[in-house]
Symmetry: C2
Subunit: 265 residues, 2 copies
Amino acid sequence: MLTIGEFSKISKVSPKTLRYYGEIGLLKPGFVSKDSGYRYYEVSQLRDMLLISRLKQYGFSLPEIATVLASGDNQHLAELIRVKKEELLRQIQNQQHIQLQMEHDIQRIERGENIMQSNYLVKTVQVEPKCIYSLRRKMSVRDFGEMFGTLCAGLEKKGLNPTGPFLSIYHDEEFNRECTDIEVGIEVAVDKGEHIRTLSPGLCCFATHVGSYDDFTACYTALMEWIEQEGYTVSGPPFELYVKGCEENVQPSEYVTEIYFPIRK
Amino acid sequence: MLTIGEFSKISKVSPKTLRYYGEIGLLKPGFVSKDSGYRYYEVSQLRDMLLISRLKQYGFSLPEIATVLASGDNQHLAELIRVKKEELLRQIQNQQHIQLQMEHDIQRIERGENIMQSNYLVKTVQVEPKCIYSLRRKMSVRDFGEMFGTLCAGLEKKGLNPTGPFLSIYHDEEFNRECTDIEVGIEVAVDKGEHIRTLSPGLCCFATHVGSYDDFTACYTALMEWIEQEGYTVSGPPFELYVKGCEENVQPSEYVTEIYFPIRK
DNA sequence: TATACAGCTTCCAGTTAGGGCAAAGTCAAG
DNA sequence: CTTGACTTTGCCCTAACTGGAAGCTGTATA
């Protein structure tokens, strides 16, 4: 039998932790003195302790380890390790991706750009299909604001309730200020009717732009760079969500827009 | 100004978290109503929030982020990100190493070997130099026990106090049962004298073997495999530390031995 | 045998970065 | 005025421990 200190030194696990493991029932000492309350461990328990340490390293939680120890089913354990291994793989991939972002940021800072000033955090998201009431037309960017007026009028005439912010979809590959195929719309609850359709872009990457609509380009650039860097391709027309915009009496510097690109690998 | 809910939706950070950040002084709302206690955020604070999210992703703790926000020193931030990047790199390397171990374990289990039965957790450690009183000789393994007797006699004659367990060092490249160059010793406090020398193996990997001395081979094999797998080479004679052994009246199944290999890349 | 001291015990509190839930107060639309 | 969505504070909870205090035990030494 070993005292908790001896067991600790051999197993490289602190006495504190050993007491904790006893408390939660993960590894109870082989014998506890009735008089003194001293814990004594069997040497054979070192094996259990080593397995615990190893599984912990593999990313198992303590309750998970407890069930593994209790079952003693090795084939099942192999499967569980495989699952953890795949989880770890995903983690590593994610971390490698973060490393690229870090390098990107470092270089931006070293080029003298202020990371706080144009800080687009590109994220991916699975966009749920939404029903939109929309108008699509080839037009000049100058007629853009007018389209929203038409849209609002149409909404009112039909008695529709918007259930989301305004949005616009850019159907042209290349953006042309004078004549672009733009669809402006808004999310609604009903799913049938004239000018009503379902928008289901699927997997998207997006970034949030704060400020006037003049400098969207930086955000678009950031998104396009990200898409290229991550090895995705654009799988549909990009769209903008006017989360906070001109319909209220808000300063242009306070506008909030989310820019989305549907993507696939 | 945005309510906490609006700010939350745009920044993709939960209201709870925003309140928490306000509480710890990381990001306080631009305005708090005196009547209702409602928090209102400036749109410009979204930038700060995005930076916080990003640095969090990079592995910064919240206090670290707070100092970054407070200082506004971008050059310094670049350095800090670089440090975190290296930290992440080390983490990734460690995780890749763990992945190899996992695969190894899975295969062991699938070959029907019991992971609990021969579970050597190989670790690396920088072994501090220690003074040992030792005897070195070419001998048969059968004379091994006798050597410890001689060693004990020598200790007693010199009036030396052991400050660690017995150990033995295997100076031959290839282990030969009949005639091996073995040094047996024990750690002592004094650093000068006949048969006293300093053992400074430096970086070692080691594993703990529990049980009789008969099946050390599995442990040695595990260590050698590990060394090969990790791309290390052996840089000195291996040694064994008899953490719990035959000097007490202990069953062979209770012996505890640590086996060390000095290594370098 | 007395004592010193290392080692052991329990109990309580704290760590990170928030999540859950409840009761009560507030805002804006109809 | 009411309704319903939103927000507030407050309290407890998480995982896997670590730290510290106060007191008890085991063993080596004088």
